[in-house]
């Protein structure tokens, strides 16, 4: 215990540690180089380098406050909305810098969808929740197409059978797990390339969690998925690749089964074996 505390303290003063493991993947969807995030004076993310692969789930784990959510929010520039937040370094989506002046933030968020920790359906009907994205982006030419998109999205999110008879009821009338699947349906309705998930199951019971995990596994066929999670079992179950963050550093990246069976970094091993975190 005292051992790990000492290592935490020593890390604070040190320069950014070199990430252990292979940060690159062939033909990445996202490629992040030397990403720094500052909240005012606080250096929340330190020189992070990582590629994100297509049709794969990347799990981000680490103790609270390690910067994994902050990093996730860099990918669709949600940090723009936080007063005093500053992002430096290069993040490219399909080879194009997302901080480039030519990159429209609205378009970026249509390509990179996000599911939040707490289910946050709009206080509108189930139908309107799913139809909202296609509507603002002009994806459906008429009502029939919109109906199809809503239908497809709800089916892919595994929610159609449960809500097909009450599409006009408020989205907030659903259970927590259903609400989260509604949020996923809402996200895939705009057909994004990447889906970011910020602890999507932390407010759900084990049964609802299992359904979401199954869903993530299915969605991997079509999308790149980044998931932040506090549950190492979840990371092991759903992801193919895992990144371990610690106090703003990306400590280790690797294939999930390797990270969990044979971590290379001492910090990763301590965290995975439950010595702190």
């Amino acid at each position: 215990m005292s051992d790990s505390v000492a290592s935490v303290d020593s890390l604070k003063s040190k320069a950014p540690a070199k990430t252990i493991g292979d940060i690159t993947v062939p033909s990445p969807v996202f490629s992040c180089r030397d990403v720094d995030v500052f909240y005012g004076d606080k250096h929340a993310i330190k020189k992070v380098n990582i590629d994100i692969a297509r049709q794969q789930v990347l799990a981000m784990i680490g103790p609270s406050g390690c910067g994994k959510s902050t990093f996730l929010r860099c990918l669709n520039r949600m940090n723009d909305t936080i007063v005093g937040a500053r992002v430096e370094g290069q993040i490219t989506l399909d080879g194009q810098d997302i901080h480039d002046k030519r990159q429209d933030v609205v378009q970026l968020r249509a390509r990179v969808g996000m599911v939040f920790q707490k289910p946050n359906p709009f206080p509108k009907s189930i139908y309107e929740n799913v139809a909202y994205g296609p509507r603002i982006h002009g994806l459906a030419a008429n009502r029939g197409e919109l109906d199809d998109i809503v239908n497809q999205s709800l089916r892919r999110a595994g929610l159609w059978e449960e809500v097909k008879d009450r599409l006009n009821q408020p989205g907030t009338s659903l259970s927590g797990g259903q609400q989260q699947r509604l949020c996923i349906a809402r996200t895939i309705a705009v057909n994004p390339e990447v889906i970011l998930m910020d602890e999507p199951c932390s407010a759900l019971d084990p049964i609802a969690t299992a359904r979401i995990e199954d869903l993530i596994d299915e969605l991997r066929e079509s999308y790149a998925i980044c998931i932040v999670t506090h549950s190492m079992q979840q990371a092991a179950r759903v992801s193919q690749r895992t990144a371990y963050f610690h106090l703003g550093d990306l400590v280790e990246v690797g294939e999930t089964n390797k990270i969990f069976t044979n971590p290379q970094a001492k910090l990763t091993e301590d965290y995975i074996t439950g010595r702190f975190g």
């Binding site: 968020r109 709009f122 994205g133």
Partner: protein
């Protein structure tokens, strides 16, 4: 060490006894507090009942007014001696003579100038005005006979309503014994009665209590508030949305925020002076106009609406904003589609408070001349007008007994106006209210 421990540590029984003692004290304090609360609420209710009781007791009688039934002969000799039905002549003809002739017919035994003058004094000057209106709109009436209920003088009205005693000594009332006798005679014949007071709702102000009505003030208030609402709600909500959702957080916006809060506390008469100097003095807008009144009350209500709207915007959960932004909504779409609908009930509450305050304001309106004696009912937003609270203030100052009930009557109308306005706003708020 041991000895000190012994004095501090107590047995379980002792501790329990102390807890019991303190429990009793806590319960006593709670009972006392409940009693204070109950007493305060009861006192409040008693005052409200007393207030409304007095207002209604004094004011309800205004909805009825004394009318005298007279058989009017539209004598061609009196009103159209030339016989050519010239509208210009008909307007200025002596309709008073028709009323007087009808009164003489009613009481043929009355003779002598002083007695006749007393007899004519029973009727309001509004009676001849009504005949004039009838004839000018329909000249065919000339030469015909018609039985009409015509407005009696306010002195008659006061006696009939029992506000002035018939048995009081003659020098303590404005009607003579002779006039009281005629009243009783008219009453016995069924020719004098309290009927619905239509002139109270159709007339503007007047020096004669029986002719004075709230219509001018009511329309004036309505127009003024309409302008206030049309200006202050969009501007207030727009300012709140900009400050809360779009403006950068810096020293300038801090100063603006502090000043909006300060403006909400500025005495209303200061806004009246500002309106006088800016709108009337500098821009040369008309005095006494609902337009200027609306501008001034807009300045007055804006801070209230902005503060309430900002609070309502702040209360919208951030998760909804994140959801909208995460879906790729622009900032304006996020506000327009999600934040504003959720904040609207709170904004409406702010608007209700602001408008209710604006409705009750008289001080700033005094400054811009909406306190003038205006007989005509305003037809538009630049016509001279007054407002209900100002009308209450004006009437409360007049000596005639008839204005006492009119003051209370105007207050009742004002309260009803407020009630209708608030009920509408509450209905709107419930309609827009959503849960999340």
């Amino acid at each position: 060490m041991n000895s000190t421990n012994n004095t501090v540590m107590k047995s379980a029984a002792e501790t329990q006894q102390q807890v019991r003692n303190s429990l009793a004290r806590r319960y006593r304090a709670e009972r006392r507090f409940r009693f204070y609360g109950f007493a305060a609420v009861s006192a409040g209710i008693a005052f409200v009942v007393f207030l409304f009781g007095t207002i209604f007791a004094q004011g309800l009688s205004v909805f009825q007014q004394s009318y005298v039934k007279l058989e009017i002969f539209y004598d061609p000799q009196a009103i159209d001696p030339a016989g050519n039905r010239d509208p210009d002549d008909l307007v200025v003809a002596d309709y008073q003579a028709l009323v007087r002739a009808a009164l003489r017919e009613e009481f043929p035994q009355v003779e002598g100038r002083p007695n006749l003058r007393e007899l004519y004094g029973l009727m309001s000057s509004a009676a001849s005005m009504e005949l004039q209106r009838a004839v000018t709109s329909n000249p065919d009436l000339i030469g015909q006979r018609q039985t009409l209920w015509l407005l009696a003088d306010d002195t008659v009205d006061m006696v009939l309503k029992g506000n002035v005693s018939r048995t009081a000594p003659e020098d303590e009332r404005r009607l003579s014994d002779q006039q009281i006798g005629w009243l009783s005679a008219l009453e016995q014949r069924g020719d004098l009665d309290l009927r619905f007071n239509r002139s109270f709702f159709s007339n503007g102000d007047s020096r004669d209590p029986e002719q004075a009505g709230v219509r001018g003030a009511l329309i004036g208030s309505l127009l003024t508030l309409l302008i206030t609402l049309l200006l202050s709600f969009p501007i207030g909500v727009g300012a709140a949305v900009y400050l809360e959702e779009f403006a950068p957080r810096n020293r300038l916006t801090d100063i603006i925020e502090v000043n909006i809060n300060n403006l909400a506390a500025v005495p209303s008469i200061v806004f009246g002076l500002l309106g006088l100097a800016v709108f009337i003095g500098f821009f040369g807008l008309p005095r006494s106009a609902p337009l200027v009144g609306g501008f001034v009350l807009t300045l007055l209500t804006l801070p209230t609406i902005i503060i309430a709207s900002r609070a309502a915007l702040k209360a919208v959960p951030p998760s909804i904003r994140e959801a909208a932004l995460g879906m790729g909504a622009s900032r304006l779409q996020m506000v327009g589609h999600h934040v504003l609908p959720l904040a609207l009930p709170g904004m409406l509450t702010g608007a209700i408070i602001g408008m209710a305050r604006a409705l009750g304001e008289s001080a700033p309106l005094l400054m811009i001349g909406m306190v003038a004696f205006i007989v005509e009912v305003p037809q538009g937003i630049v016509d001279p007008a007054t407002a209900l609270p100002v009308q209450v203030f004006l009437w409360s100052d007049l000596p005639e007994r008839g204005f006492v009930e009119r003051t209370s009557g105007a207050i009742i109308v004002l309260l009803l106006f407020l009630l209708v306005m608030n009920a509408t706003a509450v209905w709107l708020r419930n309609k827009f209210e959503k849960r999340w």
